[in-house]
């Protein structure tokens, strides 16, 4: 479970400055922001643009191109469930449906109590032990409905 900091322009400027001077700084800067704030908020875009000497439109284009950059901070836990073919072959569709109904969310959404954000992922490289997921970065294999229930029970 990650503890993200609330948005702070000063903090963001510091984070950006730490990475802005390397070659091809775009992704490293955005990753660093998301690590601190749990997302790359809109308010960060002009700061990144100014530090990297590119237009805000260009920054917006980069942030929105990559699936992993969130625009709002996630819930207290992030559950990333694989939806790719190898996991589909062993029932990932049913697991995904069960998670969505259990949490009463769709993909990319956070449960009403703010506990869990559900994100789809296309392959974790755990293709012989699926269906697979990462819960707060921890890998879980051979998922089924019962295992999902036990896993979700532990989250608050």
């Amino acid at each position: 479970m990650a503890n993200y900091e609330p948005w702070s322009e000063d903090r963001a400027r510091g984070v950006i400055a730490d990475h802005a001077n390397i070659e091809g700084a775009g992704l490293p800067v955005l990753h660093a922001l998301q690590e601190v704030f749990g997302c790359v908020p809109m308010a960060a875009e002009p700061l990144v643009a100014s530090a990297l000497n590119i237009s805000r439109a260009e920054v917006h284009g980069i942030v929105t191109f990559y699936h992993e950059f969130r625009r709002t901070a996630p819930g207290r836990h992030v559950l990333r469930v694989c939806r790719a073919e190898a996991c589909q072959a062993v029932g990932a569709d049913a697991v995904g449906a069960h998670v969505r109904s259990s949490l009463a969310v769709d993909w990319h959404e956070t449960s009403a109590d703010g506990a869990v954000t559900l994100e789809p992922v296309f392959c974790l490289g755990l293709c012989a032990t699926g269906p697979s997921a990462l819960l707060d970065g921890k890998p879980v294999g051979r998922l089924n409905a019962a295992k999902v229930d036990r896993m979700l029970e532990t989250l608050s």
Partner: protein, 502 residues
């Protein structure tokens, strides 16, 4: 104290390896390794005995107390005992060159790496010099393991001869294909092999800087490789003439395409570049760049060490050497199987893989990731070889083999391929960006029984446009899964008839 080797490969962690390690701590000296790649046996632990290592698996934390009581530490315990790991048929049948150390060594121990032949390739390259090193790569017949199969030696020669203020070695570790995990296993289990391979490439072409672009979905691999870089710098292996930096992707499948990856490394949207210019002439930051897949680079050291003839002697046709094949999906014995080219698809999924995990008959096998064709059992005699798969309108890609049993609905898989393309298209070219959206709509109409004949013809025509009109392999190869599903499983696209038959 007896040493017990326990994988820290993510697949082993997903099945509880950390809990097993915690339960054994205090009873033995625990060494964490990569995985041998026998995933149905994970967590597979190995006890060091005077007679060599003895493997046990799959070990659950609830098994530990009984195993200890029965003599686990001397290899005497019978329960879950697999014996000498190298004699397990799945391993005994392999030719492990690229994966020779994976699962055996502590991935972050330079002593282990050296004790298992590490850095002998780099030493050899230093003696040979750039020209002879490239000649060795050319003679080995090694082709790009990312999927395109371009001869590595030719790529290196082009970069060596190109003029540039700076030159780069870029490792493509954006292993996005479902059913593949070879790059991940090496990052986690033998990271120094990649460092050595990149150092050899740098020496051969005159590069001073290397980048490894790793997908963000591999947090454990990223962490291990970063640690390996720190160790290699401290030991003076990196830093003076050549250094490596790891960069992390952000969930875009298309960044596995080499020009898109370079755009991403430069900090932009991962949009595909038109070729020419080739990356070998104008690659990263406009400089001559070797961009190779991780498995390709990690294979370089053993080729230099053992010589080109030894590597070239393995394989079939123009596919030389070994391929780390990844058996995945609904398969009983899933894992990493490295062998010479030429093994047939049927041997892989039936003899070696043991058929489906569910026990139902195999209906389809997708080879080469989301852009690979679905092969029915009728094509199981196809040998694993770049040209043989291409001749049957398929591809071997990065070596992923995903098995489906007879519950799979192939029209839905065709729809998924198109849907995947809508999500992952970089948007630069129209056939891929618009074509994939139209593809999803057309499959939906077919599934709803609307003008099925006309829409099937339209879908075929659309695939033709995407195949020949797209800028890169994403839009260009998505027709492979779609057309193969239509050609080999036509009944799934006729829902009305299917219902009537039932």
């Amino acid at each position: 104290m007896t040493r017990i080797f326990i994988p820290r490969d993510v697949a082993a962690l997903a099945l509880g390896a950390d809990d097993v390690a915690a339960a054994l701590a205090g009873h033995a000296e625990i060494v964490r390794t990569g995985s041998r790649g026998l995933f149905w046996l994970e967590p597979m632990i190995e006890v060091e005995t005077p007679e060599g290592r003895i493997a046990y698996g799959p070990v659950e934390v609830s098994d530990v107390a009984a195993l200890l009581a029965d003599g686990l530490l001397t290899g005497a315990a019978r329960h879950l005992r697999l014996g000498v790991p190298e004699q397990i048929p799945f391993l005994a049948r392999q030719t492990r060159l690229t994966f020779a150390r994976c699962g055996i060594v502590d991935p972050l121990s330079l002593d282990d790496y050296r004790a298992h032949g590490g850095f002998e390739g780099l030493d050899k390259a230093r003696v040979l010099g750039p020209v002879e090193t490239i000649a060795t790569m050319l003679a080995s017949g090694l082709r790009g393991r990312g999927g395109a199969g371009f001869p590595t030696g030719i790529k290196w020669k082009t970069v060596a001869e190109a003029k540039g203020a700076r030159k780069f070695i870029v490792c493509n570790a954006d292993e996005g294909d479902s059913g593949t995990f070879a790059d991940r296993m090496l990052l986690e289990g033998d990271p120094f092999s990649l460092i050595e391979g990149m150092a050899i490439a740098a020496l051969a072409v005159g590069a001073s800087k290397g980048y490894v672009y790793t997908r963000s979905e591999y947090p454990h691999g990223i962490d291990t490789f970063d640690k390996a870089l720190v160790i290699a710098r401290a030991a003076g292996i990196l830093g003076a003439d050549f250094d490596i930096e790891q960069r992390v992707g952000a969930g875009a499948y298309v960044c596995g395409e080499e020009t898109s990856l370079l755009e991403s490394l430069e900090g932009r949207r991962g949009q595909v570049r038109a070729k020419p210019p080739l990356p070998a002439h104008k690659g990263l930051f406009g400089c001559p760049t070797v961009i190779n897949n991780l498995v390709t680079l990690a294979t370089v050291p053993c080729i230099l060490r053992d010589g080109a003839p030894a590597y070239q002697a393995i394989g079939m046709g123009r596919s030389r050497g070994t391929m780390p094949i990844q058996l995945a999906g609904n398969i009983r014995h899933g894992g990493l199987f490295e062998c010479g080219f030429g093994v047939t698809l049927g041997e892989l999924v039936n003899d070696i893989g043991g058929g489906t995990l569910s026990g139902e008959p195999i209906r389809a096998v997708q080879v080469g990731g989301p852009l690979g064709a679905y092969f029915p059992p009728d094509l199981f005699d196809t040998p694993f070889d770049y040209e043989a798969f291409a001749a049957k309108d398929g591809l071997i890609g990065h070596g992923g083999v995903v098995v489906f049993d007879d519950t799979v609905d192939m029209a839905r898989m065709a729809r998924f391929a198109m849907e995947f393309c809508t999500v992952e298209s970089c948007g630069k070219c129209t056939p891929c960006r618009i074509g994939s959206v139209r593809g999803v709509e057309t499959v939906d109409k077919i599934l709803a029984g609307q003008n099925v004949d006309a829409n099937l013809e339209l879908l075929r025509d659309l695939c033709h446009t995407m195949k020949f009109g797209s800028l890169c392999a994403l839009g260009g190869f998505i027709p492979y899964p779609v057309l193969s599903a239509m050609n080999y499983f036509p009944e799934d696209f006729r829902p009305a008839q299917r219902l009537a038959a039932e």
